[in-house]
């Protein structure tokens, strides 16, 4: 609870910072003024948005609006910012969720193998792969995958969440949750489920690549640390099969620091989503924010940046709490 309260000043700081940025950018009334307006109407707009007040008063009006759920109107989405977020969030969440799963499964497996076969060619190969994972430009990886699997092999669709024509022909998807994989199943249409799945593969793999690298490296180093501890030696010396020693004794405990990194890499995933969604034309928060930022859609920029900060900070908090839960040594202190 104390930790939760500590977040408030940080988020307030973020809001002050982002607010200052948007005010530096120019007259906020410009967004609402069109060529056909009379001077009176313009004055009325300035009055309505409190633009004649000093900046710090404007900030408090703005903050009041934010807390009351009025996040402004996004010109790029043609929706109020809160509705735009609700509209785009499921697509981003589905993509991020699947790629986190890919990253966790692959990263933990590679990290374990790398630690168990330390200093063998397998280990070196994994190390090079992990380093190239953080060095690859996300947008380039996405484009290369598109070239190979769409343009050359024709195995996977190029972009978007689903084939629109197919969806219409199949009678559409009822939106229960906003997650295509779940909705198509609930609609009871396996064809659409398959369609949603093949559309997800490339973006999810692209997005997960950097995270795989980070998880692999931390998993390797924490495995190496754990494998020298007494309880692992004990397990070995009592004649337990090596496979079980690694799976039950070493890996479980090595997972604890890895959890932290999984949480931390969430911020990276949000950033990655901006690029990945732009390449794959994925109708989520990332693509929206990229086009909003390019089109000076200030309400959207403010909203998205704040949302990113809130998500990031909350995820880190959850990770800290989970850490205490997973590690009895921390819990008991």
């Amino acid at each position: 609870m104390r930790r939760l309260l500590l977040l408030i000043p940080v988020l307030l700081g973020v809001s002050v910072f982002v607010f200052t940025l948007t005010r530096l950018a120019g007259d906020p009334a410009a967004a609402y003024i069109t060529e056909h307006m009379s001077p009176d109407a313009i004055v009325a707009i300035r009055e309505r948005f409190h633009l004649n007040e000093p900046v710090y008063i404007q900030y408090f009006y703005w903050l009041q609006g934010m807390l009351g759920g009025d996040w402004g109107y996004s010109q790029t989405a043609h929706l109020p910012v809160t509705e735009a977020i609700a509209e785009y969030f499921p697509a981003t969440f589905e993509l991020t969720f699947i790629s986190i799963i890919i990253a966790v499964v692959v990263g933990i497996a590679l990290g374990t193998i790398s630690a168990v076969r330390r200093d063998t060619p397998v280990d070196h190969a994994t190390r090079v792969m992990a380093l190239s994972g953080v060095s690859l430009p996300v947008f380039w990886l996405g484009l290369m995958l598109q070239y190979i699997f769409y343009s050359q092999l024709g195995w996977l669709p190029a972009d978007n969440r689903g084939d629109l024509i197919l969806i219409i022909n199949q009678g559409g998807i009822t939106e229960y949750t906003g997650f295509r994989l779940i909705d198509s199943l609930l609609t009871g249409n396996p064809t659409l489920f398959g369609d949603a799945l093949i559309h997800l593969i490339m973006p999810a793999v692209t997005l997960s690549f950097g995270t795989i690298a980070i998880i692999t490296r931390i998993m390797r180093s924490s495995m190496l640390e754990v494998m020298n501890l007494d309880y692992v030696k004990t397990a070995r010396s009592k004649g337990m099969p090596e496979r079980l020693v690694i799976r039950k004794h070493a890996r479980r405990n090595a997972l604890i620091p890895t959890t932290t990194v999984i949480g931390l890499s969430f911020g990276g995933l949000l950033s990655g989503a901006v690029l990945t969604e732009s390449i794959f034309n994925w109708p989520g928060l990332g693509r929206w924010s990229a086009s909003a930022t390019l089109n000076n859609d200030w309400a959207a920029i403010l909203g998205f940046t704040l949302l990113a900060a809130i998500i990031y900070v909350l995820v880190n908090l959850i990770v800290d709490v989970m850490y205490a839960y997973l590690d009895p040594r921390v819990r008991l202190e």
């Binding site: 380093l131 430009p137 950033s271 930022t293």
Partner: protein
């Protein structure tokens, strides 16, 4: 740099005899040689060093490797306004891209652009972070508290998103991308250096300097800061690559350089229009894979080189792992 005996350095600093200076440099030289020896032993770090040196070479000798047309802006890639041509024809080593821009030229001059972005962002962020972090860690109190809360704010927004928000306010140019990235990049440095200063502050040699009556600023900048630098150097090395990666991402989305600039991220986004379609040259049909592949590969190599080097340096500069 890591385990520098500060007493010797002190004599060198005070004494005006050249001999003393030489003497004080000798252990440093020995340590440097030893570092180079360790570097050669670690294969991956060495590969990183080679890649980095090649990139530096390309950046410096760009005017010789790809001479620009007289009176032309060298940062603009020369175009022939025809369809993309495959690699190897008509003196286009890597082919041509959007509006017939020569990929080889863009790649060579792009190395210079990347180097400039990295140098500016990393150097500025380090200097700001170094001063603020050192002062904050050394003096503590209200200044420290205020500064750390400010860095909290910056660190709570993912870096690409923060850079996007800052870049949105500024006009679209490469210089403004550098500015946006600098604003994003200094807080981690301030944090890192503060942490280092806090631990070095308690060492016995700092206590000794204090006991001898050295001024606070002297203790901070001659004793504490130099001994806090090893992890900063590792971080800087890796950031040289990461900065280029994020800058290329921003450039790809559409901030930064105008179309046709010799910047790798921009070249990828300029090329992607052609990437999934086809072009004809000499009556033959091609799918122009080269327009995106080469500039992207350069970004990858650049970032990878600095990452390998930084990863190796971490082990080499750490006094505990060193011997």
């Amino acid at each position: 740099m890591a385990t520098e005996p500060s007493t010797i350095k002190k004599t060198g600093f005070l004494g005006d005899s050249i001999n003393l200076v030489k003497k004080s440099l000798r252990p440093r030289l020995r340590e440097f040689r030893f570092s180079m020896y360790l570097m050669r032993k670690s294969a991956l770090a060495f590969v990183g060093l080679i890649i980095v040196l090649i990139m530096v070479f390309i950046a410096i000798f760009a005017p010789l490797l790809a001479p620009p047309a007289p009176n032309a802006d060298p940062m603009q890639i020369p175009r022939d306004y025809q369809l993309p041509k495959p690699p190897g024809v008509e003196n286009h080593l890597f082919g041509t891209g959007q509006l017939g821009a020569d990929i080889y030229y863009g790649i060579v001059w792009g190395a210079r652009t990347s180097m400039e972005i990295s140098l500016f962002v990393v150097a500025t962020a380090t200097i700001i972070g170094l001063v603020l972090g050192a002062v904050s860690g050394f003096y503590g109190g209200a200044v420290d508290e205020a500064l750390m809360r400010i860095t909290d704010v910056f660190l709570s927004i993912p870096s690409l998103i923060l850079a996007m928000a800052v870049a949105a306010v500024l006009t679209r140019s490469l210089e403004n991308i550098m500015l946006a990235l600098t604003i994003v990049w200094w807080p981690p440095y301030a944090r890192l250096i503060r942490g280092q200063v806090l631990s070095v502050r308690e060492s016995t040699y700092v206590e000794a300097a204090r006991a001898m009556g050295a001024k606070k600023s002297r203790i901070l900048f001659r004793h504490i800061v130099p001994n806090s630098l090893a992890p900063v150097v590792v971080n800087m090395t890796m950031d040289f690559g990461v900065v280029v990666l994020v800058a290329a991402g921003l450039s790809y989305i559409g901030f930064g350089a105008p179309a046709g600039t010799a910047e790798w991220g921009k070249m990828v986004s300029d090329g992607q229009e052609w990437f999934l379609s086809t072009t004809t040259y000499d009556g033959q049909q091609y799918s122009p894979w080269w327009v995106v592949t080469f500039p992207g590969l350069m970004i990858f190599l650049f970032v990878m080189g600095f990452n390998l080097l930084g990863d190796g340096l971490r082990d080499i500069l750490d006094p505990r792992l060193r011997r």
